[in-house]
Symmetry: C3
């Protein structure tokens, strides 16, 4: 593609020579001839002067005149240079489609299942009684979709995904290999003799549109009602979501984090890896929870950052951590104070 073609495809504004051919994308400090680069972080502004790139993506508000760029550098002004860069990256990188087209002859599809148009189903996948699969959805090899499960349009399920009976996925949902949707919630009532009676897990899992879930996650069905993962949520690998949990829109949760039963996470929350949430609590919108933290009770104030085991607001957690770091010296100081006080008392 030429610089002009890229500018047009991105609906950007071209300033400079649009005729050159772009064959690669590259970081601004590494880019050379025929490369497209981008400027998102102002820290990289000094590189604009000396980049060897043929073209650069910049923000609409970028002041080209004062950038002292090489005359050979073409500018494409766009709304979000980094996102535009990702789009071009994806377009220029040769990649293969891992999904075979159509329905593999070995797929076992119940006669009572309903398939939309242009559905792909891989070898040895199983689609249960009464299941519904939306248009353009791709289900990879060896997936098992339970009875009465519903999967929307344009979804992507990688190999070995299990969707238990009656669970429902929206549109454009992506699930990576080995993830389990709808296993029983962990509920057992203690009996007098020390054994346990299983609490039936009669609810389902509902996953809304545009959710992506990593590999080898476990998302349990509700005891009654729904475990609910709302629009735009992104879960990393090996995440545990217990029964009746609700995860709000556009919340992202990193690997190996666990959410206990009936906990409600707000919208646009960011959770780092290996965090644990106790059950039956609420986390306010836009909260940020740092890695390995433990959240024992509700977080009611939105938009704050939290850290620690148990979590505290970040500033406080860091002040505590600073004291912990020097506890041996603090203990020594205390001992020496004590001794000096004894000496004073003797003198008095």
């Amino acid at each position: 593609m030429t610089v002009a073609e890229i500018a047009e495809w991105l609906k950007g504004e071209l300033v400079g020579d649009g005729t050159r051919e772009i064959t690669r994308v590259a970081k601004i400090e590494e880019a050379g001839t025929s490369d497209l680069t981008f400027l998102a972080n102002p820290r990289y502004l000094p590189y604009v002067k000396r980049t060897g790139a043929s073209a650069i993506l910049v923000a609409r508000t970028f002041d080209i005149a004062s950038a002292s760029a090489p005359s050979t550098l073409a500018f494409i002004k766009v709304d979000d240079p980094y996102l535009a860069f990702l789009h071009v990256l994806k377009r220029l990188t040769p990649s293969i489609d891992p999904f075979a087209r159509g329905i593999h002859s070995t797929a076992v599809i119940s006669p009572t299942a309903t398939l939309g148009d242009h559905v792909s189903i891989g070898a040895y996948a199983v689609i249960g009684d009464g299941a519904r699969i939306g248009d353009n959805t791709r289900i990879a090899e060896a997936c098992v979709i339970g009875s009465m499960a519903e999967i929307g349009s344009e979804c992507t399920l990688y190999p070995h995904v299990t969707v238990y009976h009656q669970c429902r996925l929206g549109n454009r949902v992506t699930i990576h290999a080995g993830t389990v949707i709808g296993s029983d919630g962990f509920g057992f009532a203690p009996k007098m003799d020390g054994t346990y009676e299983k609490i039936p897990q009669l609810g389902i899992v509902v996953i809304e549109d545009d959710v992506e879930i990593g590999s080898n996650c476990s998302i349990d069905r509700a005891t009654i009602g729904e475990t609910l993962i709302k629009k735009g949520v992104k879960l990393d690998n090996l995440v545990q979501v217990a029964h009746n949990v609700v995860i709000g829109e556009n919340t992202v949760i990193a690997a190996q984090t666990g959410l206990s039963g009936s906990t409600k996470i707000g919208k646009n929350v960011m959770v780092a890896g290996q965090v644990g949430f106790a059950g039956h609590l609420e986390v306010a919108d836009r909260s940020v929870i740092m890695a390995q933290s433990g959240v024992p009770s509700s977080i009611t104030e939105p938009g704050k950052t939290w850290f620690g085991y148990p979590v505290r607001e970040r500033g406080r957690a860091f002040r505590i951590e600073a004291v912990i770091r020097s506890l041996p010296e603090l203990a020594r100081d205390l001992a020496s104070l004590k001794q000096r006080l004894e000496e004073i008392l003797k003198k008095l």
Copy 2:
């Protein structure tokens, strides 16, 4: 079912009008006409006066006369109102059986495998040489049961479960999707050149009766002998059980907890989520381990509650935690004391 039919089915004692039809179960604060509710926790006693339910499950010892309940409310006295409630809940909730009946035509079953009566085996399941499956056991789609493995009666294996060769499951064992039983223990002997020699993992996993294991767990086979999960144990999702671990009867372990090699957990222990146990230690019966704790050494006194990293007895852990929470102020106090002492010394 009428109230009287429910009372009879539960072997309970009916006090009041048994003719009304029950169509739903509900919490006491939400129940209305045609609903059955229950009273287990005395905190909810005040609701008995004003509930709209048609019937309520109460303990055998419940004093109906002094409850001032509406005359329309029928009582069913049972041994355990909550468990009875669960039984009725399960009976009244329409649910589908996710397991197909019989042996699917695509199941690959070794001619040397032995199947009991009324076994169900799903599409694309594989049963290895010499494996034995007990009566009424249901094995879902795409499970792989290794050579010489033994699975008891009335077991339930959800899709994508792997049981490695020679491992043995008792009766009424439930295993959720993606769980692996019998992968190699993690044992490698260092060699002089910095590489490792694999220590052969020649043992097996034995899972006793009435065990339930969640989804995507890993239970390793023993180096020699058995990794042993005793009767009535319940494991949540993503739990790691290393080689030669023993888990005692009726112990429950929540999600993402890990048990290192050769550790022995006692009976009726309760372990919360994301706990880690070091190897070669013993945990006494009826211990309770709170979430995200780390257990570095044996717990010898039974029936105590433990918390922290490393764990300490709960009261102690909470006292320590209370000081940690105010460490910045403690450090400031210490600094001010030091200064005042300096001033005193100058004066003297």
Copy 3:
């Protein structure tokens, strides 16, 4: 096998009676007639005098004369008695090969895939377009090998392993059940409206020779380039490896540990269970990281042991931990000091 045959097979030096038949291996304190035992740890030297074993494996440098062993005990001198013991253990223990020979008739193998000699492929395994499988490699039931993936010689893949498209495994790689190689890295760019744009994950996973990976692990493909697991690495179960991570040669990582994006772990590092590493950091060669630690930044000095959340060098971490353990007393001391100081001030 006779003692002499074992000595010859191990290329060891026999001292004593080589005619006796060995039928079992056993620990030195438990061994009896017809048993072979070993001495690796000098702590067990006193047992040599009184062992009932028929033969013992000792180091080349072992001084037989001064051991006062029973005259019936034969010695086999070898380079590494423990490793030799493992070899004999493996040879004498009856074990079954869980892998069926040859290509199962139900395996779906793309006509464009390339298979080496003596490859075994289990029932319902799927081998994608252009995939290459090396000589003597065994792929168990229900594995899914993606398009253009490459698997070397003498590899062992247990059931339900997923290898995504284009990922590459070296020779003698072992992967346990349910592990996923090559799922998408967790990368999403925030958009102005609070939703996220997926960052395409265009790279692959490369696993070098002699790597063993446990069950239910998730190894993500790189955003661009490679997630790289070098020669001889051993990963336990449920380990999370994010995009663009590099793990150095002969590093071992225990269960449920997670490595965030672009982190580089050195050679011969030992990582215990449930450890978390932040992203974009480096860990020096031969570091040891204790269980449940959190590593927030690079470790630059090689060969040290680290502990805590966040990690500190072990000696320091233990000194801090010693103070934490007695914080309630420290706080009490401080309060009492404060009071005494007040009293002194009053007196002055």
